[in-house]
């Protein structure tokens, strides 16, 4: 109702004298300008909550962390400026380098297979003839909805040191001696990598599946006419077309792998911060801060972690991006 009546008003105004018309125009221009101003105020007002919260609990802590990286502080006594010595302490600590090594090894073992299998699963799930598609999709995705703590606890039972734990029993059937999953160098890493793989492979599959479904069908039809088999289609059409999705998952996996904390912490339980076989960088940071009250070195570790994440993310994603380009060039 309302819009119609206002339109009527406008029409009526069209008939009145020229003087009144210009007056009206001026008025509406003024009104328009105030409208614009109102919009601007609303705009700032509506985005303000994010920026207020961000500056308080996001930006300020991040900057303060960088400041804290150059201070010596136990949380109680006043801070003292110590220059770069926190970084020196961390970078010369063998345990820090052990945690870097652990993080990278678990990161590679836990995420690289995920991406490979994710693409294969997505490709299979998209096959035209496949029945029970939805069932397979739901089951493969299901692990992702469990929390990291739940996954770590379930796997801590599956992979317990006891010779009767399910995994050790299965290994014994294959003639392998029981493995100390919670205290050996490779046992811990393998168990944690498997649980990371289990929880995330479905997630990546779903992303790749969305990517595959966005590939136009006529590309496959053309390839089929040229006599390409399913495997060749996967290598020459699906993979190159999936590149943006692969870059996305490589990026998120790289960042996620370097931030690994919950799985090893819960998996190892009591010994999480006292043993070094599966201590990750974030666990090292947490131990420095909340077990040893050495907040300066912990902040220095956080800064080093930030730098590492940036470097690894850039290297890994550009590696993948570059590889795709080369491959396409070869095909041409």
């Amino acid at each position: 109702m309302q819009p119609e009546s206002s339109r009527e008003k406008v029409e009526k105004n069209g008939e009145v004298s020229a003087y009144q018309a210009t007056k009206k125009q001026k008025l509406s221009k003024k009104r328009y300008r105030s409208e614009e101003k109102k919009d601007m105020i609303s705009g700032y007002l509506y985005i303000a909550p994010f920026f207020i919260i961000f500056s308080l609990v996001g930006l300020y802590p991040a900057l303060f962390s960088i400041y804290l990286g150059f201070q010596k502080w136990n949380g109680l006594s006043p801070m003292t400026f110590v220059g770069l010595s926190n970084f020196e302490i961390v970078l010369t600590d063998p345990l820090f380098w052990k945690s870097v090594y652990n993080t990278i090894v678990i990161g590679i073992m836990g995420t690289a297979p995920q991406l490979v299998f994710g693409i294969i699963f997505a490709f299979l799930l998209n096959l035209a003839f496949l029945k029970f598609k939805h069932f397979f999709r739901v089951t493969i995705f299901m692990p992702y909805i469990t929390s990291m703590v739940a996954v770590a606890l379930i796997f801590s039972v599956l992979f317990s040191d006891h010779e009767s734990s399910l995994v050790n029993y299965l290994l014994s059937l294959a003639g392998v001696d029981p493995v100390n999953w919670s205290s050996s160098e490779w046992g811990t890493k393998i168990a944690i990598s498997i649980m990371v793989f289990w929880r995330w492979v479905g997630y990546n599959t779903i992303i790749y599946l969305a990517g595959i479904q966005s590939i136009p069908n006529d590309l496959y039809e053309a390839a089929m006419i040229d006599g390409a088999n399913k495997f060749q289609q996967l290598i020459y059409i699906t993979m190159p077309m999936l590149k943006p999705f692969i870059i996305l998952t490589v990026f998120t996996s790289t960042v996620g792998a370097l931030q690994l904390f919950s799985e090893p912490t819960v998996f190892l339980g009591n010994s999480a911060f006292t043993r070094d076989e599966a201590m990750t960088i974030v666990m090292y940071l947490y131990r420095d801060a909340f077990k040893l009250q050495s907040f300066g070195t912990a902040s220095a570790t956080a800064i080093i972690l930030l730098v590492m994440i940036t470097i690894f993310a850039v290297i890994n994603t550009s590696l993948i991006a570059g590889k795709g380009r080369k491959k396409r060039g070869e095909n041409a």
Binding site: S42, P61, F121, V138, A150, I154, I206, F261, A298, L305
Partner: protein, 280 residues
């Protein structure tokens, strides 16, 4: 390849693919089943060789032990309260900001939007220590609001909402409402909100489940068992000398079941929330 050859090879490869996918499904489902087996058996079942692989009868007994050790229902309730409030707040903040970015003209809009996206690359561990002291200074240590406040930050939410609002709310509708003298907030409430409800479902799932499963921050802020969320409470189950696997997995089982039921009921929504959250 001749057509004949092709036809001959197809059924075999089809069967192979079904077998492979079934193995993958089994691999995905088995830990869930195993959790149920352990949650219903006495802890002695764990020491038997070969291991017990069938459900037992101690579904309730094991859970009683869980309740003895942690305040399970309180922890579930705490998690539920945290995640619900976080979800509502994030939906509100994101949709309001998304509305502004999609439909209003104001100076510095693009730069501000880029700034929001850039905040996503700050790793959450960078600010952990100052955040802890900030919360402690504010007297929010060991409280649920102390947990929540960090989760209110959700740049992805603003990004998704902007995308959705600019695609699905027509400019004409907003213009018309303005001619009627609607205030901007009234436009948000009575025009934008009803249109973006489906996007709320998607974003809501992303936010709720992320907050539900998050561990590092909750583990850092909450030390008082009364205030434990379910993740922190579950993590305590294995922190004993005499580990009782039946009890541990009973706790995990009962904490996972509600999630699992919700997931199975709304699985399409869950799965599409992942692709929308990350592919856009």
């Amino acid at each position: 390849m001749s057509p004949l050859e092709k036809r001959k090879s197809t059924p075999v490869s089809k069967i192979l693919i079904y077998v492979l996918l079934s193995i993958v499904s089994l691999f995905s489902l088995f830990p869930f089943y195993w959790m149920f087996v352990m949650a219903t058996n006495p802890s002695s079942a764990y020491n038997s060789i070969p291991p017990t692989v069938t459900p037992g009868r101690l579904l309730v007994d094991n859970f009683m032990k869980v309740i003895d050790k942690i305040d399970f229902f309180q922890a579930m309730w705490n998690s539920f309260v945290v995640c619900s409030i976080v979800t509502i707040v994030v939906l509100f903040i994101s949709s309001l900001a998304g509305f502004a970015f999609a439909k209003f003209k104001f100076r510095g809009k693009n730069i501000l939007f880029m700034a929001i996206l850039l905040t996503m690359i700050i790793p959450p561990q960078l600010g952990l220590i100052p955040q802890y002291f900030l919360i402690s200074k504010a007297g929010l240590l060991d409280t649920l609001p102390g947990v929540m406040i960090l989760f209110f930050l959700n740049p992805l939410g603003i990004f998704l909402m902007r995308q959705y609002i600019s695609e699905s709310v027509p400019d004409e509708l907003i213009e018309a409402a303005k001619l009627d003298g609607c205030s901007n907030f009234k436009i948000y409430r009575s025009i934008v909100l009803p249109i973006i409800l489906p996007a709320f479902a998607t974003l809501g799932i992303i936010v709720f489940s992320a907050a539900w499963g998050e561990f590092l921050w909750q583990f850092t802020v909450l030390r008082d068992p009364e205030q434990y969320t379910i993740q922190v409470a579950l993590a305590q189950l294995s922190n004993t000398q005499n580990v009782d696997f039946g009890m541990i997995l009973s706790g995990v089982f009962w904490a996972t079941i509600p999630l699992l039921v919700i997931f199975l009921l709304f699985n399409r929504l869950f799965i599409s929330s992942i692709t929308e959250g990350s592919v856009k």
